[in-house]
């Protein structure tokens, strides 16, 4: 029988208080069309809720869309929470408005990639396929 690989599962989350979810929805829809299983969790989620959802859904990737400027606080908490839950192999990526000077710090905190406003769906999909754990 031919080898069958399961679709990559991605949680798209909006941590923090900003309610602008258009970008997150466009990404969710776009990744679906690229063959990903996308779990969309809605706006204004706490990092605890995002981590719990990522564990229950057994996702390969958590993508955080953040426009509020709170990325430096919230994103490292997501990485640390997943690690504490025994899910350090989940890839955490970020999208939204994140200033250049904050990127190095976030990457040091375990954020695998940051996709700014100019990023295309195809680019993100290619990155995820290349970097997700294989199973």
């Amino acid at each position: 029988m031919a080898e069958r690989t399961a679709p990559i599962r991605v949680l798209i989350a909006k941590p923090g208080l900003d309610g602008h979810d258009r970008g997150a929805k466009v990404l969710a829809r776009g990744l679906r069309d690229e063959g990903f299983e996308v779990i969309y969790t809605g706006i204004r989620r706490t990092t605890e809720a995002i981590i719990a959802a990522a564990i229950e859904e057994d996702v390969d990737v958590v993508g955080c869309s953040i426009l509020s400027g709170a990325h430096a606080t919230l994103l490292p908490k997501v990485v640390a929470g997943l690690r504490d839950a025994g899910a350090a192999d989940v890839l955490v990526v970020a999208g939204g408005i994140i200033p250049e000077e904050d990127r190095a710090g976030l990457q040091a905190a375990g954020i695998a990639a940051i996709f700014g406003p100019g990023s295309t769906i195809a680019e993100i999909a290619t990155y995820l396929r290349a970097h997700v754990r294989s199973n």
Partner: protein
């Protein structure tokens, strides 16, 4: 969470282990078979802890997710361990899926007595994924005693849920359910309970009347209730009615669910073999052999199923 361990050392002790077990049965293969076997052994040894499995279906936009979320909140507050399995379709074109039911469910991080999982149908070609049957057994083996399986709102064609659940709840919106629809064969006649959701909106009372009058012409007409997931009215009564029906229908529930799971598993495996026959050219060769008169159609079918 209660402990289940199989010979590979996998267990269902934690939320993470349960979640990974569901991914394993989604992928299929020997590890998945072992997990299911372990769950079945576990369930056979503790009959007293059998769960109530409620299938929830209805047209898109009827408010299934929000209503299930509200029922789950109330049941959890009453001490039940509640799992929600939300099934949504995979895209036929891309194989991907957009699973959005969590948006409508309160997240309760830290509560091990709640579990929510989104399941894509993954080309099972039916509105209810065979994975849902396996996932339902896994959450039951992990100690959840109330399981909601929420299905694609495919309406009347969505009958697979009847096999997997102890009870079927049909959710209608205030604008749905005319008398003719209520009389049509399909999901409505399989529902054990019907609820008109969004009672906070105009027209809900009339929808109840339409459904009742349509259903009254049949035998064993299900009760029609009114609720609003948004303002919470009728939700407690709905949960009480569901639990009451579960009691009167109990007995053989687990055995029936296991049989339904195994039937779905066999069917899914057979469907994979048919897909293989298509991709490796055997199907085309058989079709050719019918065209040339080498085999009759029924002979070709026998040949295909043998392979």
């Amino acid at each position: 969470m209660s402990e289940v361990t199989d010979q590979h050392g996998a267990a269902l002790r934690t939320t993470r282990e349960l979640a990974q077990a569901i991914s394993s049965v989604e992928r299929g293969g020997p590890a998945a078979d072992a997990l299911i076997q372990t769950a079945l052994t576990r369930l056979a040894s503790e009959r007293s802890q059998n769960a109530v499995v409620i299938g929830v279906t209805g047209a898109p936009g009827a408010g299934k997710s929000t209503l299930v979320g509200a029922l789950a909140e109330r049941a959890r507050a009453a001490g039940r361990r509640v799992a929600i399995l939300a099934v949504d379709p995979s895209s036929v074109q891309s194989g991907g899926a957009l699973l959005g039911d969590r948006v409508r469910v309160e997240e309760r991080p830290g509560d091990e007595g709640r579990f929510v999982r989104s399941i894509a149908t993954r080309g099972s070609g039916r509105s209810l994924s065979h994975t849902a049957a396996a996932a339902s057994l896994l959450v039951e083996a992990a100690g959840f005693d109330l399981v909601f399986i929420e299905t694609v709102g495919a309406g009347q064609a969505d009958l697979g849920i009847v096999r997997l659940a102890d009870l079927v709840l049909l959710v209608e919106g205030p604008e749905g359910g005319d008398e003719v629809q209520a009389m049509k064969a399909g999901l409505l006649e399989s529902a054990h309970l019907v609820v008109v959701n969004k009672s906070d909106r105009p027209g809900a009372d009339r929808a109840v009347e339409r459904l009742r009058s349509g259903l009254a012409l049949g035998h064993d007409a299900p009760e029609v209730l009114l609720a609003s997931a948004v303002d919470g009215s009728g939700v407690a009564e709905l949960l009480t009615a569901l639990e009451g029906l579960a009691v009167t229908r109990s007995g053989g529930g687990l055995q029936r669910r296991i049989a339904a799971h195994l039937a779905a598993a066999v069917e899914a495996r057979a469907a994979l073999r048919l897909r293989d026959a298509e991709s490796d050219g055997r199907l085309a060769a058989l079709a050719q052999s019918i065209a040339t008169g080498e085999r009759p159609l029924s002979g070709a079918v026998d040949e295909l199923l043998k392979g």
